[in-house]
């Protein structure tokens, strides 16, 4: 497995669909104001196809366990 990605760059990846700061202007759910645990739990459910999705299941499979924890922590801290 390649090196784990920078947590800051991981969150930058989410903004392109979920909006800057996780404030979505349209149909994709907003991500601001969540706890790290809930984000990580949802991402793991997407990764194992336990949660219905059109695209997040394909995206979540691209991240390691450590990256999921890191992006969840970073989002919970910065996307209020």
């Amino acid at each position: 497995m390649a090196q784990n990605a920078s947590p800051q760059l991981l969150t930058f990846s989410c903004a392109g669909c979920h909006g800057p700061g996780g404030h979505s202007p349209s149909t994709i759910p907003s991500l601001f104001g969540r706890t790290a645990d809930s984000i990580a739990e949802i991402l793991r459910a997407f990764r194992t196809d336990q949660r219905p999705a059109t695209i997040m299941n394909r995206i979540a499979k691209g991240y390691s366990d450590a990256e999921i924890d890191a992006v969840a922590r970073e989002l919970a801290t910065n996307w209020k």
């Binding site: 390649a2 090196q3 784990n4 990605a5 920078s6 800051q8 760059l9 991981l10 969150t11 930058f12 990846s13 903004a15 392109g16 669909c17 979920h18 909006g19 800057p20 700061g21 996780g22 404030h23 979505s24 202007p25 349209s26 149909t27 994709i28 601001f32 059109t54 695209i55 394909r58 995206i59 979540a60 499979k61 691209g62 991240y63 990256e67 970073e74 910065n78 996307w79 209020k80």
Partner: protein, 430 residues
């Protein structure tokens, strides 16, 4: 004020380092000399992202964005203008947020030269800009004449509409003027080119318009390659929604167009077949925007080689090249990819300025396409650095499932809208 709130949210998002000036005046508005100067050439998907993110990550850095246009019309969603359910207005953005709340200096001019030794950019208007780091994002230029007879003048008769704006509207007017039963021809280039699924989405969107208005018409796609992005999903979708309206001719069936005769609305294939259309859309072969090539940033391919971790040019130091103009391994030439690269280049430039180590990169791309307004498909990948350069993460990403219920397709169409709105905010609108 909304702007102040958004600015604060955004600064938090980016994890700003120089918090002191985050809510105050931009570096350029104060008397203090800036910590460093970053110049960005091009205010499209890559460049406008990079300019905004440099300011957000470290507001003590002075950023100048050079872009000739006062507004920017996106290629994404321009196929829906052709289809008739979006307007040019819907896909037009400006630089007010970037120049206002994000405190970048936006200069509406064209960069005419780069001097890597003197670290200076000259503008057509006469100004010279000194930089510590330069980010170059000029997008594509067309290789006029690569298809014999397809010149800039020919594009006024057989539009490419591969840069959005007047060309999009020209093609739309031609479709409107065409009689029922007319033949629309599309000529599609070999890889690499801007937006690999774009031509096939365009065929569907033109078909959507024709089905409702000129149902006896046909679309003929002449392709210089034998397979294309999301091919099974497109072919299933075309058939399901438009029956036999769209015909695709691959390279191996003499699909490559080598000559255009605008006066006769005819294109000629490699082995000499003439195809005459009522409307002819020629998407010509491409290379990196002129400013990048003229500055010696491109190699023999016509595209710019870059370090895959930082997007710094492997030819000239302290110059990053991002977006369609660069060679980014397996990443497609898409707006989403340019946005992703813009963020990596911004952080890399800021880290270098601040003497910090390079961050381990991660890239993402998603290309949504519509078969019909309520029928969406996508391809997505999370990219990493491997021994082969930037490559998709194994066992992840990929295209929408081929066997899927309507909910998947309508859902993806709705999320395509959501993506466009979020991406526009991430780059220009907020």
């Amino acid at each position: 004020m909304v702007s102040k709130l958004s600015r604060r949210r955004f600064t938090k998002l980016a994890g700003a380092v120089g918090a002191s000036s985050a809510f105050g005046l931009s570096a350029c508005a104060t008397m203090e000399p800036p910590k460093a100067r970053v110049v960005v050439i091009g205010g499209g998907f890559g460049g406008a992202t990079a300019a905004k993110y440099v300011r957000a990550i470290d507001p003590a850095i002075h950023v100048t964005l050079v872009e000739p246009g006062r507004t920017f019309v996106t290629c994404p969603f321009s196929n829906y203008v052709l289809a008739g359910f979006k307007t040019i207005n819907d896909i037009t953005h400006n630089y007010n947020a970037l120049a206002g709340m994000h405190g970048a200096r936006v200069v509406h001019d064209t960069a005419s030269g780069i001097d890597p030794a003197k670290k200076a950019v000259t503008l057509a208007g006469g100004e010279t800009l000194q930089y510590d780091k330069l980010i170059v994002a000029p997008g594509i230029d067309f290789r006029w004449g690569a298809i014999d007879g397809y010149t800039e003048a020919a594009a006024e008769i057989m539009p490419h509409a591969w840069r959005a704006g007047p060309q999009t509207l020209l093609l739309r007017r031609q479709l409107e003027a065409m009689a029922d039963g007319g033949l629309v021809i599309m000529s599609v280039p070999a890889n690499p080119f801007r937006c690999p699924p774009g031509p096939y989405e365009r065929a569907a969107m033109i078909a959507h318009y024709l089905k409702g208005n000129k149902p006896r018409s046909k679309i003929l796609i002449l392709d210089a390659k034998d397979n294309f992005s999301k091919q099974p999903l497109f072919q299933d979708g075309w058939k399901a929604v438009y029956g036999d309206m769209i015909e695709w001719v691959p390279l191996s069936k003499d699909g490559k167009v080598t000559r255009a005769i605008p006066g006769e609305m005819t294109v000629v294939s490699e082995f000499g077949q003439n195809h005459k259309g009522a409307v002819v859309n020629v998407i010509p072969p491409q290379f990196a925007g002129a400013i990048a090539r003229n500055a010696g940033l491109a190699n023999q391919t016509g595209w710019c080689p870059v370090n895959q971790t930082t997007f710094e040019s492997t030819i000239h130091k302290d110059i990053h090249v991002i977006g369609d103009a660069c060679l980014a391994g397996a990443m497609p030439k898409s707006g989403f990819a340019a946005n992703s690269q813009g963020k990596v280049a911004a952080l890399s430039a800021v880290n270098a300025i601040n003497g910090r180590p390079t961050a381990a990169p991660t890239y993402v791309n998603t290309c949504y396409s519509l078969i019909a307004p309520d029928y969406g498909i996508s391809v997505t990948d999370v990219y990493r650095i491997t021994d082969q350069g930037i490559a998709p993460t194994p066992n992840a990403g990929g295209i929408s499932p081929r066997q899927a219920d309507r909910a998947q397709r309508t859902g993806e169409a709705r999320y395509a809208e959501g993506w466009y709105a979020a991406m526009s905010q991430d780059i220009w609108d907020a």
